[in-house]
Structures are given as C-alpha cells and as structure tokens.
C-alpha cells in the first residue's frame, strides 16, 4: 500500500492548457460575482466560495468520461461549473429563483443535475461520503464501467462515517475515488489543531486503500494523479484516495472574519501558488498563447458570468405552489 507523492507532469497541449485556464477562470469569476451578489443581499444564507481551489475540480474533471458521477459537500459551485452545469442555473439557485437547478428550493448547498451526473451539494459534513460510495455501488451492481468522484474536505475526513465507508468500499471493491480537498482549515480550525495524523492520504491504509497526495494548486499534477486513480477504479481494483493539498482564499463562508490565519499567509499563497496564474505563466512562457489571447478569454468568461448574474436576478421567485411540490412523488 505504497502511498506517495505525485509530482510528475504530463505532456500537455496548448489546447488542453487553454481549456483548463478558461475553466478555472470561469469558477474564479463566478465566485467573485457570487460574493458581490451576496453583499448586495441577492444571495442569502450560507455561501461557501471555492476561490483558490479551482485546480482541483478542473484537473479531475479532465479525467472523467461521460456517465461518471460526482458528489461533494456544500462548497459546491466550482464542482458544478466544472461538470458542465449551466452558470445561469447555478447562480439563479444561489439567488433562490425559479430558474435555479432546484427551482430555488435547494440554495447554494443543495443543487443537483441528473443530466450532468452531479449528485449534490450536501450540507452535512461528511454525509456525502457514503452517498458517493452508494453511487459507485449502483454502478458496480449495474455492471457498467463508471466511476464516482466523492469529494470531501479535511474537516469531513474526521467524521466516523468516512471510515465506515472506506471499509465497505474496500470490502466490496467499489469504483469510487475519494477526493480529500485539504484546504488546511476545517471552518476555522487549522489541520494541526484537529487532526492527529496530518497525512490524510494514509487514512485508507488500514482498509487497504491506496492513496496519494497531490499539489492541488497545480492543475496538471491533479490531472495526472486523477488519471491514475480513474484507471485504478475503472479496472475494477476498488477505491482510491487522493489527498489534494489546496487553499481557499476566502473565508469558510461569507460570514467568516478569518481571524484564525494571517492576511500574509493568504497573500503569500495567492502570489506564489495561484493555480490560474501558474497556467497563465506556462501558456505565455511556452508561447502557447499571447496576452491578447488570454484577454479575449477573460472577456468571454466575464460575459458568461455577467449573463449568469443577470439571469439570476431576472428569473422570478418560485411560484408559491412550489412550497408544496416535490415533498413526495
């Protein structure tokens, strides 16, 4: 059960890099806009932004095939955009409108898309882990070659049901990739204050689950590790753990004053490790793109996000009849 660090970088084409750049930028700009709309009172309740963690979902989605499933926690906007869900539908759910993916009844933390095989959006820390293994259970039962990406954070990694799930996933050889997005803070609690053994990728060893740690600020490293994990799962060898070291720039939620870390720590990460800047730099130094190309992408992304925001404001509130629908079929 050798657990090790993945560092090799695959050869990557200009086309792929530009795609990752654009996808990460879409998430970044979308989240910035969501932050603005929250400030304007258009989005209510809890709103957990993904800014800083974009490389994780973009790198892993690049390894998925049609029909593969994904499920995550409440910090879910990035996962939905990376899975190809419509930014307007996501934003309209954030504003609680009829045009949202859940007709305004789910909100930021509870969104789903059967079409895109996105199974939520779950608000209870860790609860999505057995659910994700259950999706993989269904695939194994139906004897198809699908895999399920089950995302959770370093905070959820201390929930008991995660280990109940590891046991059964290994026992039944379920095709599930456990993606631990380690952004170093479980809400306001730093990992070294909550976790007796910091190497989360080793947490599956007791169950015979292979794991590795990945630089989550490097989309190519994530893609590389994801390819290996997917290959392992798809070939019927059971579950796989990826501990992806990442960092969230914003607070846990919009109401987080972030007193538990210094402004300098965040600033240093942004300046030195930013996943989007890293790709931008490769694109320019390798002459895969010139500044004007990237500006054009920036402009395109901005217009997509603006259109999503407009849609989310114009979409009507749900009909009052919606209060009573979808409780039971």
């Amino acid at each position: 059960m050798a657990a090790r660090k993945s560092s090799s970088k695959p050869n990557v084409s200009a086309e792929e890099l530009l795609k990752y750049y654009k996808e990460m930028l879409l998430i970044r700009r979308f989240e910035e806009k969501a932050g603005q709309l929250y400030g304007m009172g258009l989005i209510g309740g809890f709103c957990h932004l993904y800014i800083g963690q974009e490389a994780v979902v973009v790198g892993l989605e690049a390894t998925a095939k049609q029909g593969d499933k994904r499920i995550t926690s409440y910090r879910d906007h990035g996962h939905m955009l990376a899975a190809g869900m419509d930014p307007g539908g996501v934003m309209a759910e954030l504003t609680g409108r009829m045009g949202g993916y859940s007709k305004g009844k789910g909100g930021s933390m509870h969104m789903f898309s059967k079409d895109k095989h996105f199974y939520g959006g779950h608000g209870i820390v860790g609860a999505q882990v057995p659910l994700g293994a259950g999706l993989a259970f269904a695939d194994r039962y139906q004897e198809n070659a699908r895999v399920t990406f089950t995302y959770f954070g370093d905070g959820a990694a201390n929930q008991g049901q995660v280990y109940e799930t590891f046991n059964m996933a290994a026992l039944w050889q379920l095709p599930v990739i456990f993606v631990i997005e380690n952004n170093q803070y479980a809400m306001g609690t730093a990992q070294n204050r909550s976790t007796s053994t910091p190497d989360l990728y080793t947490r599956g060893e007791a169950f015979g689950i292979r794991g590795e740690t990945v630089d989550g600020m490097d989309v190519l490293a994530v893609k590389d590790a994801g390819d290996k994990a997917v290959k392992h799962c798809r070939s019927g060898k059971g579950p796989y753990i990826l501990e992806i070291k990442t960092y969230r720039y914003r607070g846990h939620s919009m109401s987080d004053p972030a007193k538990y870390r210094t402004r300098e720590e965040v600033q240093k990460m942004r300046e030195e490790r930013d996943p989007i800047e890293q790709v931008r730099s490769i694109l320019l130094t390798k002459n895969y793109a010139i500044e004007d190309d990237l500006k054009a992408i920036d402009k395109e992304v901005k217009s997509v996000v603006n259109a999503a925001a407009e849609f989310s404001k114009e979409s009507p509130e749900p009909n009052v009849e919606e209060l009573w629908t979808d409780v039971c079929i």
Binding site: A127, L131, Y141
Partner: protein
C-alpha cells in the same frame, strides 16, 4: 439426585418452541457442553447443550413435539448409579405431551386482569383489501414479509436487500430466510455493523437508480443512521426541485420486544412520522405486512417500514393472489362500532382489539381503526369514524409527549370539535425509559386495562 432438564428460553420473546430432535437417548452418558437436542424457535433452530454431567434417565418430551413451553421439563438427568424410581411431576407442559405423563401443577403465572381473547381476530363486516371470496391462507407476519420482498425482487432486478445478518445467518429475526439461496449475494448483502455507513451507501445507491431495502436489525440501531434517513433520503427530492430522490425502504423491528430494556425497546413511530419526505407504515396484520411491503418497495419515495418482533410469529389470513398490495395512506376499519372510536396501529392494535372485545361484553360497542400508515395518515377515515361515534381513544406503545395520539387529538379537535362528546384520551407507553424488571416493564407498556378504562371514561361509564 435426579435433575430436570428444562426447555430453554432461546430468545427474549420466546415462550414456547419445538423440540425438533434428540441427539441422545435414554441411558446415554452426557457431559457438560455436549449437544443433546435441537430446538426450533420461531427465529431459528438452535443446538441445546447439557449443563451438567450424568445419565439421561428419561426423555420426557419426545422429539417432534411442538409448542413445548419454556421451563417445561424435557428430560431427567441422574448421576451414575442412581435410578429413577419416581417420575417427577411435569409442570407447565403443553397439552398433548408426547410422553403421556399426567399433567398437574399450577398453570403459568397470569397477571393479566382481562381474560385473553383470541388473538387472531378477523375484522367484522368491514371492507377488505381483497375481492370477496378470495382464497385465504393462514400465514405469519414473518412469512408475509419474506414473501413480499421475494415477490418484488423477482419482479424488479433493481431491488436488493442489505443489512446485518440478512444473508448467511438467514436474518436475525429470520425474515430473510432462504432469500440468499434464491437471489444470491449480489442482491442479499450482509453488511458490517455500521448503520450510519450502510444507510448512506443505500441512499446513494437509490440516487444511482437502484431500489434498496435496508434492514435494520432493530430500529433502535437506526438512530445511528438518522442523519442519512432524514437529511439525505427524505429531503433530497425537495432540495433537488424534484430531479432525484431516494426510492427505498428502511425496515426492521420497532418498539418493545421483551425484557431487553431501555436501549432496545423504543417505538419510533412518532419520530419518523414527523419528517416530510418520508412515508411511514406500521402494520399489525400479516396481510397488511405483505401488501404494504410490496407497495413500499414500489413507492418512489423513502418508506419507513416499522415491524414488531412480537408480531412476527402471529398468524393472520392473507389472500392468495398473484399480486396483492395494500395502498400506503389508507386506514382499515378493523371492527365496526357505534359508541367509541379506538385508533391504533402496529402492536397497539392488539390492546385495542382486546379492549373492544372486553368492552362489548359490557355493552360498549367500540369501532377499532388500524391506521396502518402514519405518513400520510388517512384523516378521512379517522374523522368519519369519530363523527359517527363522537368519542375517541388512541392507543400506541410510544412515549406520550409528541405522540401520534397527540397529533390525532389535535386534528380531531380542529376538524371535528362539535362532534366530540368527550375529550380524546391518548393511551401510550409511560414517560420513562423502558425498565428491565418484568413487573416494571409491564407497567411501562400500554395495557388493555388502560384502554378499557379510557373508553369507560370517554363514554362516562
């Protein structure tokens, strides 16, 4: 000195069993730990070991004898050199004992005040869930549940059963007996003891297009899985705007068994009935167990199916039909009457029916309504009955605060206030954790006496 080997109690609820086979004969020498007999309970066939050494002087109960009461002597053990000269008196043995010994001695201690009426009552002149003239078969609740699950698994490949001991052990309460043989380990899945985890996996499998049946060994253990049942299974359809939900069944025994104390004796009916997004059923009769189980498996929503260990071995008429279902959300008028409505469900029906029989001798004509479904509740049937009788008593095993009875009382007050001639009385379990001691346990549970007293109170007798 000769000692009696007594019929052992092999489960908390066992009162009698079948002595299937003797593995020793008269004159054999046995040592402590030797297997001397096989005893069949309603749950399983168990080997019975000698606890003393000696010689089997007499086999009192022949093999193949059914309904041997717990603590009845089944053999006489003597020490070497000793001879049995006097056949001891057999106390508390069943009628028709194969040994032909004279029966004498006291009958089992009876503390019940009410004369016990026949338990297998058939509803009197009320609508049935099957066509008139349908052939009926006497079947236990246990068999009915197994038949329902098996029929649905034959019908739909996406239905599977998972839980602790459902497969190789043949079910902790024998509900899934034989199912592993028929459906294989892909569809009858033994899980580790990990309720929170496997409940979550089952909900995920339901999201993924399957129709899981999750057996909780008892609903006490489902407390570990409450988050997945309530937050994941019940709410996802709503939270997804109708895109996806969890078509599945959570089932298992609920409520008090016998002498298993506080952590294993709780009725969760009111807890689950509280949650929008769930359906909740709690059958009493075997026909309802069967018909509702089949409906629950086909239902596109998560269904909580509350069974009862004490009822598993009870027999009722079950219609012999190709595809018999009972709709969820429909109550059954078990007994028609004009003086008072007794509303109950699950094991509570036993007390409701006993009370009604007792009251009829006293000239009080009680209507007994079995709710069967607790979410949704068939308010129409409840209100129609109360508007007819003008008086109502509710009966359930659960705790009194926030009970199903409380809710029914409120609905009746709001919607039929002018029809009431007396306040509604809720008969419930007592507001204490279940005690272990026999006498205290009996006091903690709802009783027929209490139902009778409540009815007399609302009828001013």
């Amino acid at each position: 000195m000769a000692t009696e080997i007594l019929m052992p109690a092999l489960s908390p609820t066992m009162e009698e069993g079948k002595l299937s086979k003797w593995l020793v004969k008269e004159g054999d020498t046995v040592s402590s730990g030797d297997i001397i007999a096989e005893i069949e309970t309603d749950k399983a066939t168990m080997e019975f070991e000698a606890v003393d050494e000696g010689i089997i002087a007499k086999i009192v109960v022949a093999e193949g004898t059914e309904n041997v009461r717990v603590n009845a002597p089944i053999a006489i053990l003597v020490e070497e050199g000793e001879r049995v000269t006097v056949v001891p008196t057999v106390v508390n043995a069943p009628v028709g004992l194969a040994s032909g010994l004279q029966l004498s001695g006291p009958t089992p201690v009876a503390t019940k005040v009410m004369p016990a009426p026949a338990l297998e009552l058939v509803p009197t002149s009320v609508e049935l869930d099957w066509p008139e003239g349908t052939e009926l078969r006497h079947q236990t609740v246990r068999e009915a549940l197994r038949d329902a699950m098996s029929e649905e698994m034959r019908r739909d490949d996406s239905v599977f059963l998972m839980g602790e001991e459902v497969g190789e052990y043949q079910g902790a309460y024998k509900i899934s007996q034989g199912m592993l043989d028929e459906f294989g380990s892909k569809r009858v899945i033994d899980t580790p003891i990990t309720e929170h985890g496997f409940a979550g996996i089952a909900v995920g499998a339901a999201f993924g297009g399957l129709r899981p049946i999750v057996e909780f060994m008892t609903f006490n253990f489902a407390m570990q899985a409450m988050d997945q049942i309530v937050n994941s299974a019940a709410k996802t359809l709503y939270m997804s705007g109708g895109q996806m939900g969890a078509p599945m069944v959570f089932r298992g025994p609920n409520g008090a068994a016998a002498r298993v104390a506080a952590q294993h004796s709780q009725d969760y009916a009111a807890w689950y009935a509280h949650v929008p997004g769930l359906k909740v059923v709690m059958p009493y009769a075997a026909s309802d167990a069967k018909g509702l189980m089949k409906s629950a498996i086909r239902d596109p929503n998560p269904v909580i199916f509350l069974e009862n260990e004490i009822l598993y071995g009870r027999s009722f008429d079950v219609p012999v039909m190709e595809d018999f279902t009972v709709p969820i959300g429909k109550a059954r008028v078990w007994r028609e009457g004009s003086d008072v409505t007794i509303l109950s469900f699950g094991i509570g029906m036993q007390f409701a029916i006993e009370a009604a029989e007792f009251l009829s001798a006293d000239g009080i004509d009680a209507e007994v309504v079995d709710l069967r479904s607790l979410r949704p509740i068939d308010y129409d049937t409840v209100l129609a009955s109360v508007c007819k009788t003008n008086r109502c008593v509710t009966v359930e095993e659960g705790f009194p605060v926030g009970s199903i009875g409380n809710h029914l009382s409120a609905v009746i007050m709001e919607r039929a206030f002018d029809y009431l001639d007396a306040p509604v009385i809720n008969c419930t379990g007592k507001d204490v954790p279940m005690p272990y001691a026999t006498n205290l346990e009996k006091l903690a549970l709802v009783t027929t006496d209490e139902v009778v007293a409540a009815v007399k109170s609302v009828t001013y007798r």
